[in-house]
Symmetry: C2
């Protein structure tokens, strides 16, 4: 933590985007004041150096981007319109001003791209770097928030985008990739860790298309599918042969079978796992395509409980997450 703390805070604030129209009191007061617009969704997501990222290999900008994106991904999984974010940074004394401002730059970069206002926060000293983001979203006109309960037998199970990239990126970085700045280096798979994209448009499109349950894939497909099955008191049957495995994953892990397992269990892809009534699936897929992503049918809902991850050659994969480092205290996962 630098000695000229208050000047640094001003410098950080300068790097953040201007507050959005709902923010009446943006900054420098005891609390931010936000005019309500509709029912709000609030989520908290924290990342810790050495646990969810490595500052040395990610670089500070990627830490800021990932912290905000992880929290916005929870809003996406509600079908929310993104509103405001509040950022707590616990920073070690020996973190350089340059790195702290780099984190702010990363937060600002994602905030600008995702059109979210960073309306407040707290900066404290800590032996370890922690970035926690509270994100507030609003219920869009014409649709309701989509929660975890709600899947019904005969619904189709689908997933946006591609899976396995985030876990493969961790392996790549463990193999020696360092301080990747994706804008400079164009490494698609590393971007799943260094510049994750919350599926906000896709989430709203799915909410409007009649999705019955939705969750973001942060703990891994198996674990997050289990959350949907438990919440909906139903069974999810998933055909792993249909998984949209991210390009490049097989090269990183050394084969198609391992790539499939990573796609089924790796966390932090921040794609959306959703259940949709069969009669609405075509429209939902079109709406997601219009949002710039792709919706892939990977299974269906039945009576029962739990999740079956059916392997291409027969047999099952155990439905647990690759990444059990995270757990939700309650409302915000």
């Amino acid at each position: 933590m630098p000695s000229s703390e208050f000047d640094l805070i001003a410098a950080i604030n300068e790097r953040l985007p201007a507050p959005g129209p709902r923010v009446r009191v943006p900054s420098g007061d005891d609390a931010a004041v936000v005019e309500p617009r509709a029912a709000s969704a609030v989520t908290v997501d924290a990342i810790v150096d050495g646990v969810h990222f490595m500052l040395d290999s990610y670089g500070p900008r990627a830490v800021g981007r990932k912290a905000l994106a992880a929290s916005l991904s929870d809003l996406a999984a509600m079908g929310a319109s993104q509103g405001e974010a509040y950022v707590m940074v616990a920073a070690p004394e020996d973190l350089s001003d340059e790195d702290l401002l780099g984190i702010a730059d990363g937060l600002a970069e994602t905030a600008i791209r995702e059109e979210v206002t960073i309306a407040g926060g707290d900066l404290v000293r800590s032996p370890v770097l922690v970035v926690s983001v509270t994100a507030v979203g609003y219920e869009p006109g014409g649709s309701r928030f989509v929660t975890r309960p709600g899947a019904r037998p005969r619904d189709l199970v689908a997933v946006t985008g591609e899976l396995g990239g985030a876990a493969a990126a961790v392996r790549l970085m463990e193999m020696g990739e360092r301080r990747g700045e994706p804008a400079d280096r164009g490494q698609g798979i590393l971007n799943r860790q260094l510049d994750p994209r919350p599926r906000l448009r896709e989430g709203r499109a799915l909410a409007k298309s009649g999705a019955t349950a939705m969750i973001d894939i942060s703990d891994g497909l198996g674990a997050d599918a289990t959350h949907l099955a438990d919440a909906g008191e139903c069974h999810l049957e998933i055909d792993l042969a249909r998984l949209p495995v991210a390009p490049g994953v097989a090269e990183v892990v050394g084969g198609d079978d391992d790539a499939l397992e990573l796609a089924a269990s790796g966390g932090e892809d921040f794609e959306l796992l959703v259940t949709v009534p069969r009669e609405h699936f075509a429209a939902a897929a079109q709406a997601v395509a219009d949002s710039g992503s792709e919706l892939t049918e990977i299974g269906y809902v039945t009576e029962g409980h739990g999740v079956t991850l059916r392997l291409p050659g027969g047999g099952e994969l155990e439905a647990r997450g690759f990444d059990q480092r995270r757990g939700s205290l309650s409302g915000s996962g």
Copy 2:
């Protein structure tokens, strides 16, 4: 962090109070859903083991109480009605289940007493214990939020309650008080650290009484008065002889002069520092008394800038905080 993480989360949830009426989706989903009532105030406040508390000497319940109270104190300083809180706990692997549940008990104790709903949060692994609370409050009917700018020349400067107790409590604990549970031991001065009381009723009473500017004393009277002077582009003249020094502080620090200095510079008292037009002062003092606290006139506002802390024997005390460990990234201080 215990291995049976998800069972523990359920156990924590059981210890938390039931959600309030505005919470539509309370728990176990990607985000909490809250029905808006009025303009909302949002604040983030984090405390870190070894920086803002010592787990060994505070005990886990006091950590939970302090984390929530510190955040609610920011809402008090807006004149807000408390609404929901969202808790991020970054917990070391070797933190026992008992201690983690103790933190939840402390959060629940303060949540119940202060009538706030803990509507969500995140639990992550971390090398060091960090508890960050995002608190959301609402603008009460019949008054507006009171922000830091707004003090006008001729306004009186006043403070609720008593000062110096929180800093004296830190000294007491450094002298060897350990794992104090105030309910059992009745140690009034230690409670300023172990069970701080946010001045929520007092804050609303002051807002309704026409307060022009308000802040909670978290960084110390001198530092927080400087925030009001800077925000209001005015000068605050404070007569230290009038400070309501908490009983027992002189005994801890060894004399009245040192007690006065601690009351003027010690942080974390979580009392409210407020400016009030002279013609409204009597009514404001009565309203604060009706809330169970006391409002003490300690100075006045003039044209100019900065803060003068006038010593009883003449001369001035430098207007800076005793506790510079904290700094606000932006909106929520």
